[in-house]
Subunit: 355 residues, 2 copies
Amino acid sequence: MTKLKDIAARLGLSPATVSRALNGFPEVNEQTRQRVQAVARAMNYRPNQIAQKLVSGRSGMIGMILRSPVDVATDPSFFEVMAGLSSRLADYDMDLVFHASNAEDEVAPYRRLVAKATLDGFILNAPTVEDQRIQFLTAAGVPFVVHGRAGLGVPDYPFFDIDNAALARQSVALLHDLGHRRIAFLNGPANYAYAAQRLSGFQSALAARGLVTPTRFIRHDRLAEDYGQRAAATMLTDTAAPTAFLCASTLIAAGVLRAARKAGLSVPGDLSVIAHDDAIPQFRAVNFEPALTVTRAPIRDACGPLTDKMVRLLDGAQSSDLQTMVTADLIVRQSTGPVPVGQQGGWNETSVVAD
Amino acid sequence: MTKLKDIAARLGLSPATVSRALNGFPEVNEQTRQRVQAVARAMNYRPNQIAQKLVSGRSGMIGMILRSPVDVATDPSFFEVMAGLSSRLADYDMDLVFHASNAEDEVAPYRRLVAKATLDGFILNAPTVEDQRIQFLTAAGVPFVVHGRAGLGVPDYPFFDIDNAALARQSVALLHDLGHRRIAFLNGPANYAYAAQRLSGFQSALAARGLVTPTRFIRHDRLAEDYGQRAAATMLTDTAAPTAFLCASTLIAAGVLRAARKAGLSVPGDLSVIAHDDAIPQFRAVNFEPALTVTRAPIRDACGPLTDKMVRLLDGAQSSDLQTMVTADLIVRQSTGPVPVGQQGGWNETSVVAD
DNA sequence: TTGTAGGCGTTATCAT
DNA sequence: ATGATAACGCCTACAA
């Protein structure tokens, strides 16, 4: 490994000057800089990151912790995000350190790693409504950026999130405009913040239109095809069955479509289906039969912003300047249509009580 | 952050003594050691890993690179292994650094990271028959351990692998003993070493029994349910259809079972199915209908050995002492049974030629 | 048994 | 514009 000293010796300079030349300090003679750069390239010089880290106090390592088996089953996007983050971080010569924990206590691994003090910060995924990790890291004063956000409002830490409430409202608006009055909601697990946010948006959009959805038509579960199929199959046997399904993911929608098929219902003729689409390559909503109407917000779009926020946070930026919320696109395809004739009636408060 | 110097000052000792006391050097006074440890704990001392790394020349970081999108689609076990490795490495206070690459050139990310010289070594997954990464790292003299192995023989680098050839032989033996003479093989992608190894074992086991399987009944493709279903559906329409399927994964077997169901065939009455099972929690072969006969080798069992090998390799152990091959367990369940009467005939050379 | 001093490779401060 | 020197925190000869 060639080091600064080697280059310096070769050129009859001091290591300090070589360092300055390589790091673009303005005071070095332009000609000197050229020579230094040439030799550095020739000798295939790479700065020793460990040494840089020792002096800078930074490790250049960002941690991401998988809550297994929770995340594996619940968050198929986790690795897509990890992959994107690692690429982006590489642009800053930073590394993504991966840890997995199957501990009961989801904070435990953070506690351990914070104690080691070897990471510059953390990126958190899939926050829950009252996320313990966020509380711990905040208290510990450790930099972190959240993909998503806990609670319903704007928190006081850096985050990148989609507007989950708005997304549910958009979906309800579309279905309502098509005449649907009985809209079921197959949401994600209730403990996740995004699910709470979507539920909030769903409820408020219904309320704004004088609609109501009985609790038996609002479910919370993992984003899986099974869940969609079973829940829909059950609901479709109801005497006042939903005419439309809002699904938390395309996987769930796939299950609903299957249930509809088995029940002999055509989509969108008898039933409308809309889902939120994270645009994960494996499940392409366009290729569904029929092509799925979705609110779309590619999860990989979060990687760049999350990385930038982390870098700026480490550079001392204010949390309040590192908060982004984007809105999902509404993409109308073939799985949504006008409410079937004779099904224009809504659920009423009574049916809620009767529930 | 409290450092050695702080502890030393507090005790009126030198940093050197404190370091020795903490690192278990035999020469320090036991009483001194006690005091040092007590104070260290009291002050919540953690050694600065960066500093340790600078002096030791080791970074304590092991790299693992995802070939996306290849691995995501092709190797569902990748993340299970990553999770296991990170836990094991943590026992050695080492970290797993994750990178993703969608580059054409699978060696490119290794080239980049090797140049940065910030990782101690790499763990490679899913080697291909002539793996470029292995060739590069070998030439570069960078430590690495392979989960699997390239080629058919015993290579000259550290690895942990299951005996893929034996596994295929075991399966053929079981089926043959049950009277099956027409065994189809739904293998993994041909470029992967494990697929080549299993094919080799499959062929040799057939040959040893005077059997032959026409090439149209040997397929190579990704470990997906679709593949299993389509391939089986096609093969089952053949005038001399297979009476048994050997599948490279339980996912493929799931597809075969579905195809059998659609074709009105009962398993194991009309058709036997055996698969190799990596024992990934998501797909539990026991829960199949019928419960699946498998060769079983939990992929997570590789994590401990891979980590140990890496650590020992970095400590200077010989490659030849770091090679492990384990055999899979044969677990006979409900998906295999005697060949149906009237189907005891095998394929012959003629049908191969006719193929 | 403990202390001193030098070094790991880089950056930053202060001279020159 | 460049050089010497110290510092980052730890480890390890070597000295005492």
